[in-house]
Amino acid sequence: MIRRNPLILGNKTYETITNDIASVVERFPKPAFFVGLSATLFLLFIFIFAKGMIVTYGMGMMGTSHPVNWGTDIITFVFWIGIGHAGTLISAILFLFRQKWRTSIARSAEAMTVFAVMTAGLFPILHTGRPWLAYWLLPYPNQRGPLWVNFRSPLIWDVFAVSTYATVSIVFWYIGMVPDLATIRDRAKSPWRKRIYGALSLGWRGTARNWNHYEMVYMLLAGLSTPLVLSVHSIVSFDFAVASLPGWHTTIFPPYFVAGAIFSGFAMVVTLMTIFRELVPVFKDYITLDHMEAMNKIIMATGLMVGYAYGSEFFIAWYSGVEYEKYVFLNRAFGPFAWSYWIMVTCNVIIPQVFWFKAARRSIPIMFIVSIFVNIGMWFERFVIVVTSLHRDFLPSNWGTWIPTVWDFGALFGSFGLFLTLFLLYSRVLPAISIAEVKPVLNVGREGDGNGHH
C-alpha cells in the first residue's frame, strides 16, 4: 500500500476545521479584500459600460464583420464555458472516482463553474444583434401560431445544454453547501446572520436519515453531471463542428473541446487557488501542495491531449485531401493570424511541459505563471478556431479580416470583472471549503490512521 501524504496538514480536529473555514465567513474582511473588490468592480463596470454601449448602438461597434461574424463574444463564451468544466469535473467525476483529495478544492471549483457559466451565458445573448429578443430562443407557447424554435440548430442545443448545465451546477453546488450553511447558522451570534444562513441552509439538521438520502442525491447528481459536463462542451463544439466551414467541420471537436475545457478549467483553478492560499493562509493546510501537484498533473495530461488534437487536425486536413481544409490549416499556421496560432501552441503545448519536473509541479510561482499562460493559450485556441477559420473560407473573394476595437477589449476584460467580483464575494460569504466533506478525510494519510484506506 502506497503511503499517502496527509490531505490536511496542521493536526486539525473537527472543531478547528470548523473554525478555520467558518471564521473566514464570520470575520470582517481585511482592507486588502476591499482593494481587490474595487478592482474587480471597476472591471465589472467596464463590462457593463462596454456591453451597454454595444447594445445601444449596435454590434457594429465590435470587431466582428463580414466574413468574421463571430468574434470576441463567442470566443469568450467558449472560454468561460470551458473554465467552468473543471469545477464539475472535480466535484463530480473525481467524486465518482473516489478521489478524496478533491474535497478541499471542490467547493471553490464548483463556485468557479457557476460563476464562469453565468459569465459565459451572457455572451451568446449579448452577441446577438437584438439581445432584447433573445428569449425567442426558448420554445415557449406564443401567439405567433405558435411558432417554435429550430431544434436542428446547435444554438438551440446550446440553450438547452448551457441552461441545464447552469441549473444542475448551481443545484449541485448549493446542495453540497447546505450542511455547511447549517454549520454557519449554528455558529452565528447575530440574529440576522442566523436568519439568513438559516434560510439558506433550508433548516438542515444533519440526521442520519437525511444524510442517507443526501449522500445518495449527491452521488446521483455527480453521476448526472458527468455526462452532462461532457455533453455541454461537446455541444458547444457542435456550434462549430456542425457548420460546414472548413476548420470547423471536424469530428474531433467534441473530445478536443472537452479536453481543452478541462485543461483551461484546471489552469483557472490553479490560478485562483494559488491566490486564495496567499489571501487566506490557513487554507494552505487544506489546499496543500499535494493538491496543487495533482491538478498540475491533470493540466499536463490534458495539455498533451490538446496538443495531440492540434497535430491530428493537421494530419486529417492533409489526409482528407479537401483543398479548403488544407488551406485553412496552412493559413492558421502561416497566414495573417499565424501569431495567434503560435501563441496558442506555445501556451498550451510547450509551456505546460515544465510540469514533467516535480519541482515545477510543486512550485507555487511556476504553476501560477504556467496557469496564466494556459488561460491565455486557451483563449487563443478559441480565437484560432473562430477567427482564422472564418476569415478565409470557400470563396476567396470573401476573404476578410478581423480588427478588434476598444469595445472588444472592454467585453473581454470586463467579463473577468463579473467573474472575479462574484468569486470574491463568494469567498467571503460562503464556506469556501466544504466543511462536511473535509472532516471525513481528516485522517487520510495520518500516522497510525486506521480509517484512511477506504
Binding site: G58, G60, P67, G129, L137, L245, E323, P396
Partner: protein, 1018 residues
C-alpha cells in the same frame, strides 16, 4: 388607364399625357403634393418606412403617447384621388435616360406618385430592357438633399469669388436675364445634346438672341468626331455593330464599360458571345485594365503612346506583308506604312496573329479606339488609322454603319470661347449640361477670363465648381421631372416624360429659354407659339419627328408613343462610307516615351463625376478593382516593385507643374510604365456624399491644340511615406485553384460543353424535399456576363439596400445582396479576368437554415430561401455557415436615410432593423405580387412573366430567372444544360442558382483549375 402587370402587354405603363387630356388634371396635380411627405405638417415621416404613404398618398404622424393604443397612425386619403393612382399598385412610365451620347429607354416605376426604380425599357431596340448602373442610380439625384430647391443668385465679388448665395424668384431671374440678354453679345456653353427637340430649341434661342453656341463635354469625343469628318467627310458617330462582329479589336477603348453607349454595346457583345459555335473573339490592346480588357479573350499590354503603333503595325502587316485589300497596291499608302514597320521588335507586341485573324474575319471584324485612355496628343492619328483599318478590313457598311444624323454640329469649341472671352466679346454666358470648371485644366484659361463676363447663368442644380462662379443658378429639373426626347447612336428616338411633379421650385432649362425668349419677344414661330417646353416638344414632334402615324391623329400617335417610349422607326442609313485616303496624310508617328505615362480614365460607376453625390455609385465596387469611395493611381506590378510602392501608399503625380497626391493601387494586367487615374472624383460643392472623395484627375490633364489630352501624359512620380486605406470589397483576387469560375476554351466547349466541370458524387442521409408548385431558380451565364455591375445597383435600388460608407466597407460591411466577384487567373502581371455575380444561392439544402435557432431563415415550398427579418435575433450563425457568404448583417441602424433620399425606398421591401441579417430574396416581393395578380385574374402564372431586378437590369442578359418546374420557362432549360454547374457543388447545398461556364475564344487558358489535379475523387 393602362396600369397592368409588367410584361403583360406593351401598354402596361402609362403616360402622363393621358391625364393631360383631362382638363381637371392640372388642378389635380397641383393638389397632389399638398399632403406629400415632403410637406407633412410636422416635418416627420413617421415610423413606418415600408409605406411612406401608408394609405393614399398620405403622410403619417405618430400621435402622442398615452393614447389608447400604440402605435397610433392616421390615414389621410386624397381629397381628390387621381384616377390612375391606386394605393399599393405601381405605375410604370416609359421614358429615356441620356448621358453623353448614350440614350437608353427606361421604365420608371412609381408608387403613389414617387418614382422609386428605374428599369430598362424592353421595347427600346438598343438596350432591350437592360440598363446601366448609372441610369438606375440617377434616381437618387432626384432625391438629392444637396440639390437647390429654388433658383439662386450668387452675389459675386469683383474677382468672381462668391460672396453670398441668395434665393431669387423665377420672375426676378427672368427680369434680370431678359434685361441682360437685351445687351447682346450672348454666348451659350452647352454640353452635347442628344435630344433633337432640345437641340432645336437651343438653336431657336441662339437665333433669337443672336447667341454664339459653344460646345463642351466633360468627357469629350471631339477629336473622334473630327477624325470621322476627316476620314468620311461627315462629322457623325457611326453605328458600331458589335453584334455582327466576330472579331473585335479594342485599342485603349472601353466600349463595354464607358465608351459612347456601353449599355447597347454590352447587349450586342453578349449576343455575339452566345452565338455558338461562332462565338466572337475580343482582342484588347490597352494600358490600364478596363472592363473591356477583363472580358478580352486575348489581351496585350501597351503604353498609351503605342496605341497608334499597334494600329499601324496591324495595317502594315495586313497591307504590306500580307498584301490584303485594294490598298496593297496603293503606293502612297505603302509608303506611309513603311514608316511603321515596327511589329514585334521595339513595339514589344507581336500583332501577326491578330492581323491574320483580322484578315480571316474581313467584313465581320471591328477595330475600336477611343475614350479618355486613347486621347493622347496624337489621338487624331490613332482615330484616322483605326478608321482606315476598318475600311481595309471591309467593315464599312457591315460592322460599321454610317449615322443618319450628323452630330450636333453648329457649335464651336471651348478654345473659341476662351478667345472670345479674351476679346471681351461676351457679355452674357449661359452654361448648361457641362461642368467646365471641374473638368477643364486651368491651362485652358477659362476661369480667369470669366470674370469680365457681365452675367453667367448656370442651369446646374447646385453650387458646384462651375456654379459658384456664376451669377444666376437657374436650376434645371431632374430628368425624371422633365419632358424631353433623345436620339441614341443607332438612330432610335425615345421620349422622356416626367414621372413626378417637380419636387422643388426648379424649372426646366428649356422652359427658362422659352420664357427668356418671350421676355425678349423673339424666337421662332414654334417657340412663340409654345406656352411651355412641353408644347414646344410636342409641336416639334408633330412637325418633325413623328413617323408612321399610320393614319392616326397626332394625338393618338403621341399617346401611344408615350406608352411605348420609343419611336418605332429608327433613323438609319445603310451602305458603307468611302474612306478618304488623303486623311492618312494627317497620321503622324507618336513620340516614344520612356518615363511614366499618365492615363486618365472613366470609371463605370462615376463616369464624368456628375453623379458623384449619389451614394450608391460611390459605394459601387469598381468592376475591375473592386475599390469604392476613392480614386487611386494604378500601377503595374513591376513598377510597384521597382518603386517600392505598396497598396494604399500615397504617391504624388506631377504633370507639368500640376501635382496631385493620391493613394496607389497595384493593378494586375496593367502595362508597365503607365499610371492610371480615374476622373469623376475630387468634386467640390457637389454635395455631402461626394465631398472629399478622391482627387480631381482632370487637373493633371493637358490642354493643347484646343484639346484635352488625358493620356500619355509625361509624369514625375514621388512616393510618399503616408498611407490611405483603400476600401476594397473583395478580399482576395485569385481562385486559389478552386472550382469557382470554370473556364473552357471555345474548341473544348464546342466539343463537349461543360467538359471542364468536375462533378462530385452527392451522398445524402435524407430523402429530398419535393417541390410541387413553382420552384424558383436562376442561371447566370458567365460567358455573357461582362461584369458591368448594373445588377448590383438594380438590386440596391429594388431592395432598399443601405450604403455604409468607406469606414465600414473597410471592415467588410458593405451590404450588397448581389456582388460581382472578379478573379484573376494566370500570372498577376498579365492575367485573364473572370466576373461572377453572386446572389444568394437559395440552396435546397441550405446550411444557413439549419443553424438558425429561431426559424428566421427557412425554405418556402417554392424553393426560395426566405429571410424573415422580424424573426431574426441576429446570431449571425447563418452568415458564418453560408459557404457563399452572401448574407449581410445590419451592424448599425441603417434605416436613418437623409431626406428626401428615403423617398426612393421601395415600399414593397421591408427596411431592415438594426441587428438583423438580410440577403438576396430572389425578389420575393415580385414573386408574391405576380402570383397574387395571377390569382386575382384566375389564371396560372405564365412562364417568364416577371423576373428579378438583377436579371431585368442586366444589359447582356446574363441572368435568367424563372420557374424551374415550368418546362416552358427559359431557366428550366438553361438550368440543366451540361455546361451549367452549381458553385461549390461538392458541398451538396443544391443551389437554385447555376452558373454556365465562361468560354474563352483562345487556344489555351491562362489559369487551369487545380481543383482535381490529384484526382482524389475519381
Amino acid at each position: 388607364m393602362e396600369t397592368q402587370n409588367h410584361g403583360v402587354t406593351n401598354k402596361y405603363w402609362m403616360s402622363l399625357e393621358q391625364w393631360r387630356n383631362d382638363p381637371e388634371f392640372a388642378r389635380l396635380v397641383e393638389n397632389e403634393f399638398r399632403s406629400s411627405p415632403l410637406q407633412s405638417e410636422d416635418g416627420k415621416d413617421g415610423w413606418a418606412r415600408r409605406e411612406f404613404l401608408k394609405l393614399m398618398g398620405a403622410s403619417l404622424a405618430l400621435t402622442t403617447f398615452g393614447c389608447v393604443r400604440r402605435p397610433a397612425q392616421k390615414i389621410i386619403p386624397y381629397a381628390k384621388k387621381p384616377v390612375e393612382v391606386t394605393h399599393g399598385i405601381p405605375n410604370f412610365y416609359a421614358s429615356a435616360y441620356s448621358e453623353g451620347y448614350e440614350s437608353i429607354g427606361i421604365l420608371v416605376t412609381t408608387r403613389d406618385g414617387r418614382p422609386i426604380k428605374i428599369e430598362g425599357n424592353p421595347d427600346h431596340p438598343g438596350n432591350q430592357g437592360g440598363t446601366s448602373a448609372r441610369a438606375i442610380a440617377h434616381i437618387l439625384k432626384l432625391y438629392d438633399p444637396d440639390r437647390f430647391t429654388n433658383a439662386k443668385r450668387n452675389l459675386q465679388n469683383a474677382t468672381r469669388t462668391n460672396r453670398e448665395t441668395v434665393n431669387v424668384s423665377w420672375e426676378n431671374v427672368d427680369k434680370a436675364v431678359v434685361e441682360q440678354l437685351k445687351k447682346g453679345k450672348v454666348a451659350m456653353l452647352m454640353g452635347t445634346q442628344i435630344s433633337p427637340s432640345t437641340q432645336a430649341l437651343i438653336e431657336d434661342f441662339a437665333g433669337a438672341t443672336n447667341a454664339t453656341l459653344y460646345n463642351y463635354d466633360d468627357l469629350s469625343h471631339s477629336s473622334f468626331l473630327e477624325a470621322q469628318k476627316v476620314c468620311y467627310g461627315q462629322k457623325a458617330l457611326p453605328r458600331y455593330r458589335i453584334d455582327r462582329a466576330k472579331y473585335i479589336v479594342a485599342i485603349n477603348n472601353d466600349f463595354l464599360g464607358t465608351w459612347l453607349t456601353p449599355t447597347h454595346f454590352n447587349r450586342q457583345f453578349a449576343e455575339g458571345r452566345r452565338a455558338m459555335p461562332e462565338m466572337n473573339k475580343l482582342v484588347v490592346f490597352e494600358s490600364l485594365m478596363s472592363l473591356t480588357g477583363t472580358n478580352a479573350d486575348r489581351r496585350f499590354r501597351i503604353r498609351p503612346s503605342q496605341s497608334l503603333d499597334v494600329v499601324m503595325a496591324l495595317l502594315h502587316e495586313i497591307i504590306v506583308v500580307k498584301k490584303v485589300s485594294r490598298y496593297a497596291s496603293d503606293g502612297a499608302v505603302l509608303r506611309m506604312l513603311s514608316a511603321f514597320a515596327r511589329n514585334g521588335g521595339d513595339l514589344g507586341v507581336d500583332v501577326t496573329g491578330v492581323a491574320d485573324e483580322l484578315i480571316k474575319n474581313r467584313g465581320q471584324s471591328l477595330v475600336l479606339a477611343g475614350g479618355l485612355p486613347a486621347e493622347t496628343e496624337n489621338a487624331m492619328s490613332l482615330y484616322i488609322a483605326t478608321n482606315f483599318l476598318n475600311a481595309v478590313l471591309d467593315n464599312e457598311g457591315k460592322t460599321v454603319e454610317p449615322a443618319a444624323v450628323e452630330a450636333w454640329g453648329t457649335q464651336r469649341g471651348i478654345s473659341e470661347l476662351v478667345t472670345a472671352l479674351k476679346n471681351k466679346e461676351i457679355k452674357t454666358l449661359i452654361i448648361h449640361g457641362c461642368n467646365p470648371l471641374y473638368s477643364l485644366p486651368r491651362s485652358a484659361g477659362l476661369e480667369e477670363n470669366l470674370k469680365d463676363v457681365e452675367m453667367i447663368i448656370y442651369t446646374g442644380d447646385r453650387n458646384d465648381e462651375t456654379g459658384r462662379l456664376c451669377d444666376y443658378i437657374a436650376c434645371d429639373h431632374h430628368p425624371l421631372e422633365n419632358w424631353g426626347d433623345s436620339r441614341s447612336l443607332d438612330g432610335v428616338v425615345s421620349v422622356q416624360q416626367p414621372t413626378i411633379e417637380p419636387l422643388h421650385n426648379t424649372r426646366a432649362m428649356q422652359d427658362s429659354l422659352l420664357s427668356w425668349m418671350k421676355g425678349l419677344g423673339k424666337g421662332s414661330a414654334r417657340a412663340r407659339g409654345s406656352e411651355t417646353w412641353y408644347d414646344y416638344l410636342r409641336s416639334n414632334w408633330s412637325d418633325n419627328l413623328a413617323r408612321n402615324t399610320g393614319g392616326k391623329s397626332f394625338d393618338d400617335y403621341w399617346v401611344n408613343l408615350l406608352q411605348v417610349g420609343v419611336r418605332e422607326t429608327p433613323e438609319r442609313s445603310g451602305g458603307g462610307r468611302g474612306f478618304v485616303t488623303s486623311a492618312l496624310a494627317r497620321v503622324k508617328p507618336s513620340q516614344a516615351q520612356s518615363g511614366f505615362e499618365l492615363v486618365l480614365y472613366e470609371t463605370v460607376g462615376l463616369g464624368d463625376g456628375s453623379l458623384a453625390n449619389v451614394p450608391w455609385l460611390q459605394e459601387f465596387p469598381d468592376p475591375v478593382t473592386k475599390i469604392v469611395w476613392d480614386n487611386y493611381a494604378c500601377f503595374s506590378l513591376r513598377d510597384a516593385k521597382q518603386f517600392k510602392i505598396r497598396e494604399g501608399q500615397n504617391v504624388t503625380l506631377m504633370v507639368g507643374d500640376h501635382t496631385v497626391t493620391v493613394p496607389a493601387h497595384i493593378q494586375p494586367g496593367q502595362a508597365d510604365g503607365v499610371i492610371g487615374l480615374a476622373v469623376g472624383y475630387g468634386r467640390k460643392g457637389a454635395g455631402k456624399v461626394a465631398e472629399g472623395v478622391g482627387v480631381n484627375a482632370y487637373g493633371l490633364a493637358a490642354w493643347k491644340d484646343s484639346r484635352l489630352i488625358s493620356s500619355g501624359l509625361e509624369t514625375k512620380l514621388t512616393v510618399e511615406k503616408t498611407f490611405v486605406e483603400l476600401a476594397c470589397t473583395q478580399g482576395h483576387h485569385t481562385m486559389e485553384g478552386r472550382q469557382i469560375v470554370i473556364e473552357e476554351t471555345l474548341a473544348d466547349h464546342i466539343k463537349k460543353p461543360g467538359g471542364a466541370i468536375h462533378h462530385h458524387p452527392d451522398l445524402t442521409m435524407w430523402k429530398e424535399i419535393e417541390y410541387k408548385g413553382n420552384k424558383w431558380g436562376m442561371v447566370v451565364d458567365l460567358n455573357s456576363c461582362t461584369g458591368c455591375g448594373a445588377c448590383v445597383i438594380a438590386c440596391q435600388s429594388e431592395n432598399n439596400i443601405p450604403v455604409v460608407g468607406k469606414k465600414y466597407v473597410l471592415r467588410g460591411r458593405e451590404m450588397h445582396w448581389l456582388r460581382i466577384d472578379r478573379y484573376y487567373t494566370g500570372t498577376p502581371e498579365d492575367p485573364d479576368t473572370v466576373h461572377q455575380p453572386v446572389p444568394c444561392m437559395h440552396c435546397d439544402n441550405a446550411p444557413c437554415e439549419t443553424v438558425c435557432p429561431v426559424i428566421a431563415t427557412v425554405h418556402s415550398d417554392e424553393g426560395t430561401n426566405d429571410m424573415i427579418y422580424n424573426r431574426c435575433v441576429g446570431t449571425r450563425y447563418c452568415s458564418n455557415n453560408c459557404p457563399y457568404k452572401v448574407r449581410r448583417f445590419n451592424w448599425f441602424d441603417y434605416t436613418e436615410i437623409q431626406k428626401p433620399r428615403h423617398l426612393a425606398l421601395n415600399p414593397d421591401v421591408t427596411v431592415r432593423h438594426r441587428g438583423v441579417m438580410e440577403k438576396c430574396t430572389f425578389c420575393i416581393h415580385r414573386i408574391r405580387f405576380h402570383k397574387t395578380q395571377a390569382k386575382l385574374e384566375d389564371r396560372e402564372l405564365r412562364a417568364d412573366e416577371f423576373t428579378t431586378a438583377c436579371a431585368q437590369a442586366c444589359p447582356s442578359k446574363a441572368i435568367i430567372f424563372g420557374d424551374l418546374n415550368n418546362s416552358e420557362s427559359k431557366v428550366s432549360g438553361e438550368f440543366k444544360k451540361p455546361h451549367a454547374y452549381a458553385l461549390l457543388g461538392e458541398l451538396n447545398t443544391k443551389p437554385a442558382v447555376h452558373y454556365q461556364v465562361k468560354v474563352r475564344n483562345t487556344e489555351e487558358l491562362k489559369g487551369e483549375s487545380k481543383h482535381h489535379e490529384k484526382g482524389h475523387h475519381s
